[in-house]
Subunit: 288 residues, 4 copies
């Protein structure tokens, strides 16, 4: 008789593989603080801003719009990972300085991406939270350096990473002594041509089941379609997400990147309001 | 210079391809009535019950539990599509008769699957709504016969169907003169071994953007993990789903199929409550 | 400590799940005969012809071209599974009669698809081999009826079916007493927009490891790009495929369906020649 | 009537996006030389060796086995990208020195991976060809530094990268003035639990259609199943691959990583022989 592999997708075994990231008991939840914002503390936390720091004006306008909408952190890329070498690659340190000025202006902590280990120190100098992008989820030297940075890390899921591979990537950061990791679901690669990526909200309760780390959701990259951002934001909060990171541009048709998935300041305000409504409605449900 | 040709199926074009399923204007929404239940009318509608009709006792107990939990329709399979020819294949007409008795007892309309064109008449005789399963989404003769049945149809998405292919499947039913189609997202095939399928909530706002048909969500098959059912149910409603179809079993460890993804009557009650809370909280948001 | 599923993708256990399809020992290989053609007998067997039987002229011209190119069977659809209800659905029985006439003319056995259980008898009356298409791989009533037909069956892999689910589908046919099943790999759904489907040649050695059934490959649907058909045909034979099924049209720009992936009679001749060269070169290698 | 918008990344357009990587005419083919080995020159070139450099003995034994089997280059990892931070991470520079000694002993050029920009200089000092792994295909700073290294680069495809994204990654290297890029297909992420990855041989003719760069295939990572390596190697050559990179271990059950997909020296010898047979048989076919 022939023999054959049958995967046992629902069996369980102890997962020493990510021993720091694994939840030890149902009550264990890590809270990550970035300035006055917290991830994992109950209320959804909103990060918003443009894909890229394009110039001083656009960035300051974005920051004011994020604050006015009720967002708690400003995002914006100074070092941009671009599929083509001929696309706009970001303003580099000049962009970081603009972000810092936006923080001065608004009081919003800033989140921005580092693309290689040697960028970690400079990004750590300007930013309040360092983003590791989806393309770098398995860039292990970068994860290690992020673990040594002293800054909270926003770790995006790789576009075809399993949830356990993602937790293992977090483990690289935690193992360097940095406990402040926020996970971010940002869409997986799938087959429907109407979506740029397929936002995988299943990851939210799955991560909460397996890990004590906070998790937020990026509905902008996660769908690539601005028309879906509002509803997927609300759904993410209802699924138990600790927050959102949303691409918003004060003049999205002029955006240097990701205009198709950027929303307006007005839409951001609506989303923040809606997530508060849902969060408030669900808090007795979660508590029950 | 090299040029790239892309398959015509992914190019931008007016969707004359599903002209009956396509939404003509933002206000157009179809409401499908099944007994006293409605899909698309605002309030989320809950279908629940066991994977299979196993016997009279289990089915009547399920029906009573669904009604007690606040569900509006009873599901249960009499003809089961099973991967292995050696697995339990369902009770057939005897199962349909048991479902009818459960309706007598509880007043709940029943939804059950037909696997082939010749089963449509007998299923239509007993059931209030006929389910076309994911494996049969592109079984075109079955879709046509479903279109001629006079019964509302619950059309599940194929496990690797694009949203447009799914709307085209609905078009087969509509084109036979049956306007009562409810779409059901039930998970797509993806790569994470922790999930049986990947519930694709993006499909909810996407279908609402493209079509006037109601859409509901199956978090049980869509994840294959009972621990995710509650949160993905709430997220589905928050994404704009018109309802849910949930596998519940009064004694899930004894279930003949799908025990791993079945919830208890108590969990169903909690979910119905939570979806009402979310639905009520969001109704002013949707209206805005 | 948290516990978690870890799939054991390389462990093995006895697979009673497809006991008739499973290979009992390395020497066990089934040979399926269709007229004078054989599948599994060593030499690659080529099936070719148009997507659809469009009319008498096109079909007879196709059959002559297949024979001239060295192909052993003629394919052509009389009942077509089309994504849109408004696309050409095939000529039905008239198409079957045309195929039979083409067989008269050329001596080539014919392979054509049945879409529903009730079509099996009429297709069996005209055709030498009955095709079950990818969309119907898990249409279990159709598989059962195919098992009762007395005809050899060409069973295409579902577009997101695992190899074991596919062998389980074959088991439905075998369990009805029909041992003459030829498997056909035809591309899986994946993410690259340059391909209609992703031809999965891994399935060839994997099926040969797990099963005694012959397996052939469809490089036309499997890629959706005519420019890839020649090289993927040769690769399929080198991977151990028992044959090919190729879409060829005498006037492909006028084809009613699948023109983008159809090749010319001249290209078919080259492919048949190349596969013989590879088959001959590799036969001592396989024997070693 | 509703209209559908498709993400711009999938629309038809001239590929100015990878203008250096794009093939300008059907005759344009780049040949990359590494020591006496060539990629793209007609004969398939075989790279083989262990997953990791574990120690001097194992590496020298591997090198001798590769040479004896007829392989042209030695592979082996000194810096290993491992999913878990607690797995063996490679010997680092000590491993590079062992590889250099193996080259001394056998005359085989060596290929080994760099994981971060700062490792490029040291890897370039020891190795003849630098590998960029699948996890780093979109690590743009690493690609740029590889482009400045003066060494030929082996660029693996990301596990969910489209062929065009991969060519764009190559463009980053080419744009730095390094024309010596060899592409390597190594399996994409898909859904079948019997395979670690799904080797995508469609990429071979597709890359040859779009680009002038040589392409080789990794059947070891590409399947994760040693039993498939031989047949997928032969199929890769038949599909038009310019070579192979194969994991071979002199004592695979003792391997520190990837033992499940490693083959023995004897199997390597058979594969080299078989690929020569196929290459020789097909060379008049390709020329025709």
């Amino acid at each position: 008789m022939s023999t054959i592999t049958v995967p046992t997708t629902t069996q369980t075994k102890p997962s020493g593989l990510y021993r720091l990231a694994a939840r030890r008991d149902p009550e264990q939840r890590t809270i990550v603080r970035v300035g006055e914002a917290t991830f994992g503390g109950g209320e959804p936390t909103i990060i918003a801003g443009p894909c890229a720091v394009e110039n001083r004006e656009q960035t300051l306008a974005s920051a004011l719009a994020v604050r006015a909408a009720g967002g708690q952190l400003l995002r914006g890329g100074a070092f941009k990972p671009r599929t083509s070498p001929y696309s706009f690659q970001g303003l580099g340190e000049e962009g970081l300085a603009i972000l810092a000025e936006a923080r001065e202006l608004t009081g919003l902590p800033i989140v921005t991406e580092a693309l290689e280990p040697d960028q970690i120190p400079i990004v750590a100098r300007y930013a309040d939270m360092i983003q590791i992008g989806a393309r770098n989820m398995a860039n292990f030297p970068l994860l290690r350096r992020a673990g040594q940075s002293g800054r909270p890390i926003l770790l995006k899921r790789g576009m075809s990473a399993t949830v356990e591979e993602w937790l293992m990537a977090a483990e690289y950061i935690l193992a360097e002594g940095n406990p402040n990791v926020v996970l971010c679901e940002r869409g997986i690669r799938s087959f429907d041509p109407l979506l740029r990526f397929t936002l995988d909200l299943n990851a939210v309760p799955l991560v909460r089941e397996l890990s004590h780390l906070p998790i937020i959701v990026d509905p902008s990259h996660g769908t690539g379609r601005r028309s879906l951002v509002r509803q997927m934001s609300i759904a993410a909060i209802a699924a138990g997400s600790d927050g959102l990171i949303i691409e918003m541009h004060p003049d999205r048709d002029a955006a240097l990147c990701d205009g198709d998935q950027s929303i307006t300041p007005e839409e951001l305000t609506e989303i923040v309001t809606a997530t508060r409504v849902v969060g408030a409605a669900l808090s007795p449900v979660w508590a029950a």
